[in-house]
Amino acid sequence: MNNRNDKKADRVAATVDRLRGFDSRRLQCEMTDGLAEWHRRRAEGVRNRRLYLLSVAIALLMVSCSFQLAPTLNYRLADGVSYQEVEDLTNHVLGK
């Protein structure tokens, strides 16, 4: 019991000591620095997000363009056969 009371008394004494050394100007400076740091980090986060969004948009644009550019084939060939061979052979069969 005495031990607990001693600890409580120590904490109170420490708080009183801190309050005695209270420097309002220093606290204000620390708060201002903290706020500036918070704003700086926030702005950096926004910049990062914008950069990532731009990168993702460009990447998606590239993929969609390649889908548009890739030729849609209208044939299915046997392994090792080119379309030209099939065309030539069919034309041969047709007598061309």
Binding site: M62, R76, L77, T90, V93, L94
Partner: protein, 165 residues
Amino acid sequence: MKKRHYISLAILLAGFLASAAVLRHPRQLPLEECSPEYLRYKDAPGIRASFVKNFPINDTLAVNVLLLEATSDSAFCALLRDFGEAEDLINLYITNRELFVGEDVNAIEVFCIDKNDTKKHLPRATPGSRLVIGSYKKKSLCVFNVEEKSIKDLISLTHIQNLKL
């Protein structure tokens, strides 16, 4: 360079690689759009099956064509049997090849088959029949996926017009 620049570069690189993969990947005709005969022969040993959608026959006509190319004589004979060719004719081809293939000889077969049973030969005018033209020289058969008699006539006419007599 900062970390964010590396991340955005990685995203762009991934996009570039995905685009390259899309461009390089062969975009084949889906199997659903191929003919049942193609599905039957696409993995058959000794036969190279290719299906072309809207193959141009002439300036105005384009039809779906299945090309079956045999890689050996035995595979070609099996293919002819599958398409209802008479056994006597196949035996004649095996024993007297010079009658079918030579410098001045290029035997061609033209017939129509039932679309549900390739062994069954049908008259050209029969609805549901498909035109087949075969070349002994190239050991190949062309199945034209057309059902209208007028188009079959046009293809045959094109074929006849092109024959070098």
